[in-house]
């Protein structure tokens, strides 16, 4: 693919093809390469290859309060509540995650909990290690992102000045002061690249 692209750049820069022809050629080539790469990826060892986030485990002082915040802001149902936690799936039972064709990949969900992460381990269990890393924020892709509509809705929810991050996302903090990013599907690993 890269050799082909390099040749097409040469053709463009030496005037053999126009800008329009370069763009059209590369668009078609990229589509073809995707199909080939997909076949190659399927053939690779998939034993530990992750398909999706299953759940985000969120621990806070009052799980009911936090769950209500996420339900209100993200329209999430609360299922399977226990004395210490509750799950909030990204959809209804039986729905498939966006972009997933496999039948054994469930909807992503939040598990919002109240528990002491520093509590002594149960007898016979290994103590939890103290992490040197942290997840400082989670970005959620929302349906039909429209910057003006999102800004207006955030204002209605009490966020008059959300921090805009690029053309397709805003940051707010949740009821526990945790950073939450709300993004459009247009924001991906290939867009809004960090400064070098």
């Amino acid at each position: 693919m890269e050799t082909f692209v390099a040749k097409k750049i040469n053709d463009y820069q030496t005037g053999k093809i126009s800008r329009r022809q370069l763009i059209e050629t590369l668009t078609i080539a990229a589509a073809t390469a995707y199909t080939a790469d997909g076949a190659k990826a399927a053939a690779a060892d998939p034993t530990l290859k992750v398909a999706l986030v299953n759940h985000v485990s969120y621990t806070c002082p009052n799980f009911k309060q936090a769950a209500d915040w996420y339900s209100k802001v993200f329209n999430l149902d609360q299922v399977g509540e226990t004395k210490i936690d509750v799950a909030l799936p990204f959809g209804k039972k039986g729905e498939k995650p966006l972009g997933v064709t496999a039948n054994d990949v469930p909807l992503t969900h939040l598990i919002i909990r109240t528990r002491d992460l520093n509590a002594p381990a149960q007898p016979g269990a290994t103590p939890r290690r103290k992490s040197q890393a942290r997840i400082d924020h989670i970005a959620y892709t929302i349906a039909d992102f429209d910057k003006d509509r999102v800004r207006a809705e955030l204002k209605r929810l009490g966020y008059a000045n959300p921090r805009q991050d690029g053309e397709h996302s805003f940051h707010i903090v949740d009821v526990n002061g945790y950073d939450v990013q709300i993004s459009g599907i247009q924001m991906s690993a290939l867009t809004d690249l960090p400064a070098r």
């Binding site: 890269e2 060892d45 226990t82 349906a143 002061g177 599907i185 991906s188």
Partner: protein, 175 residues
């Protein structure tokens, strides 16, 4: 896709990206093909409708160690042009723009004013084969995981708890 490539050509013409960066970006953009920009459902009347995790921002003392761990153990795909010496991006799941997600390991501190913590992320692994999963962990030097069959935990290089599971053991509707 076409708009993306047109933008890249602009960047090439203006010198913002090198020939090498251009070639890499087009090769990577190939995976965008087939991605639908249209979300599955319309926005609700109030609030928002999350359809996927867009990304996870992971702060740690040395992003390179995390980058190498998550790509080599869990098959996440690095995006070369997003690696700036302070952070990286690792794609996984559906294609970008079609419900795909990415992890951003970055150099950062543990300091926070938040009263909440994301204490672990659980990833779904399809076509789960318990024996093969455990053998693969051993082969990658991760030893014996904790957890239960179908839902396992290991620690990453910074002792962050990583869970991975199949759809039977970890499913919101089967709690």
């Amino acid at each position: 896709m076409e708009d993306f490539i047109a933008g890249l050509v602009d960047d090439l013409d203006s010198g913002k990206v090198s020939r090498r960066q251009f070639c890499e970006a087009v090769a990577l953009a190939a995976i965008v093909y087939g991605a639908g920009e249209e979300a599955a459902n319309a926005a609700p009347a109030q609030g928002f409708k999350p359809i996927a995790i867009n990304h996870i921002s992971y702060s740690c003392p040395d992003y390179r160690k995390a980058r190498d761990f998550y790509s080599s153990v869990f098959g996440m795909t690095p995006v070369p042009q997003a690696d700036n010496g302070r952070e990286a991006r690792l794609m996984f799941g559906p294609g970008p723009g079609n419900g795909g997600s990415f992890l951003i390991p970055r150099n950062g501190s543990m300091a926070t004013n938040a009263k909440a913590v994301v204490d672990h992320i659980c990833y779904t692994i399809p076509n789960w084969d318990e024996a093969k999963v455990r053998a693969a962990l051993k082969e990658k030097g991760l030893g014996e995981p904790t957890g239960r069959p179908g839902s396992l935990h290991v620690y990453d290089p910074f002792d962050y708890d990583v869970q991975f599971a199949n759809a039977v053991q970890e499913n919101a509707f089967r709690r």
